[in-house]
């Protein structure tokens, strides 16, 4: 298992963002669903080693991220796209991605190729010299994805990766996700259940800091009853599981 989580909690002052999560995730694309404030981003930030857990056990890629050396090893193999990624507006696309390649310690001999490949994979090859301040929101999102995959991570964490992408780009992105999932663990946090249905082999649903469903997208769809809200089976399953968790 690339992600092993036992009894993980995270508090921000008086707010309990993550409340005792147990989770194990292996290779493939894993979907993390949940309403606003469910704790998805906090859980993802802990997996990304951006914040330490308040309590519980977290192991990533068979290493303990609580210790400096192993954490650095994890980070070499990690890709992370936050919910609201930041940009240096004066950087070009290529410079921005190269900057992250250098920070992620991609071997110097492979840096240029890795940068070019990552940019091509998000279909921004023709804009590689464009400054970030000139790009649209969707393009910036793709630049964020490029920096996350530039080191060809073994563990890729994407928080709302399809926000701002047009339908065509979302379809292409799902294809990219499936491809990445063949050799890495990809965790996608999203509100868009159709993305999960299309790209994820397994899925977890969070609510109020806890995981209230863990299984396959088909299993989630099957949880829906006739009365739950939603246009698709998985949306109805999503609504039904949430309603049941809150009842």
């Amino acid at each position: 298992m690339n992600i092993e989580i036992t009894g993980l909690t995270r508090r921000f002052g008086a707010v309990q963002a993550v409340a005792g999560v147990d989770l194990q995730v292996g290779p493939g694309v894993f979907g993390l669903l949940g309403p606003n404030g469910a704790g998805k981003t906090s859980l993802l930030r802990m997996m990304a080693t951006a914040v330490p857990p308040s309590s519980g056990r977290l192991r990533l890629l068979d290493r303990d991220p609580g210790r400096y050396g192993p954490r650095r090893e994890i980070r070499r193999r990690l890709g992370y796209l936050p919910q609201n990624p930041g940009y240096y507006p004066g950087f070009t696309v290529a410079e921005y991605v190269e900057y992250f390649a250098l920070l992620k310690e991609v071997p110097p001999a492979r840096t240029r190729t890795a940068v070019a490949t990552a940019i091509d994979r998000v279909e921004l090859g023709d804009r590689r010299k464009a400054r970030l301040r000139t790009l649209s929101g969707g393009m910036l999102r793709r630049v964020g994805i490029a920096q996350a995959i530039v080191n060809e991570p073994e563990l890729l964490l994407l928080d709302e990766p399809t926000a701002g992408l047009d339908p065509e780009q979302r379809v292409t992105f799902r294809s990219l996700l499936r491809d990445l999932g063949q050799r890495a663990t990809v965790v996608v946090s999203t509100h868009l259940v159709e993305d999960v249905a299309a790209a994820c082999a397994r899925v977890a649903l969070m609510d109020r800091g806890r995981i209230v469903f863990h299984g396959t997208p088909d299993g989630l769809a099957a949880s829906g009853d006739g009365q739950a809200a939603g246009d698709t089976p998985i949306e109805r399953g999503y609504s039904a599981v949430l309603a049941q968790a809150r009842s």
Partner: protein, 225 residues
Amino acid sequence: MTGEQRTDPRLSGRQRTGAWLPTLRLVRLYAVGRRVPWALLATVVCAIGLRLTLLGHWDAYGALQLPLIFEAAVAVSIAATVAGPFGEPERVTGRWLPFLRPAVTVALTAAAVGLLAAAGTGGHLTGGTLDVLRNVAGFTGIGLLCAAAIDGALSWTGPTAYLVAAVYALYTQWHPPALTTPWLWPARPPHDLGAALCAALVFACGLAAITPRGARDRPGSPAAT
């Protein structure tokens, strides 16, 4: 999602008071969004610093340049509040911003002048209150012009550069070649009309520059912190 509210011309006194509350609340939120309380705190710290500085015994040069440094510090703090955190969503909202921007800036400048002048009361504040008023207004004007022309986050560059030039101009009163242009107003006596006019003009231009659009921010640039 709510219906349009119409104002009844026959409002009672209590209702009229109530009508002011949203405005006050808007001013407060505008100020908080632009870190105005922090700027005020910085101004208070500068006033205390000036007071403590005036307790010391300085030579003529030091007595002139040290207050100038505090005046520049409050001015950069005021100019730093011009940058808005919300960008276009805020800019396209109604008619209040062009009033709020200069009003808050003028209020902050007045508060800064008042605090620094109060700090100098009873001390040997070279130049007196007039000097403080002229210098703070002038420095702030430079900061506002920089905010409008370059970037809100870089509004400090102009005032700090001007500070170095102004302190040098003071120095040349003792060491030639002298710099005596009224555009370097801190080096002129407080009653110098030309210097006061230059400082006032720069302040007015700065206010005029930030009133319609605030500080310059570039498309795609994340909001300043």
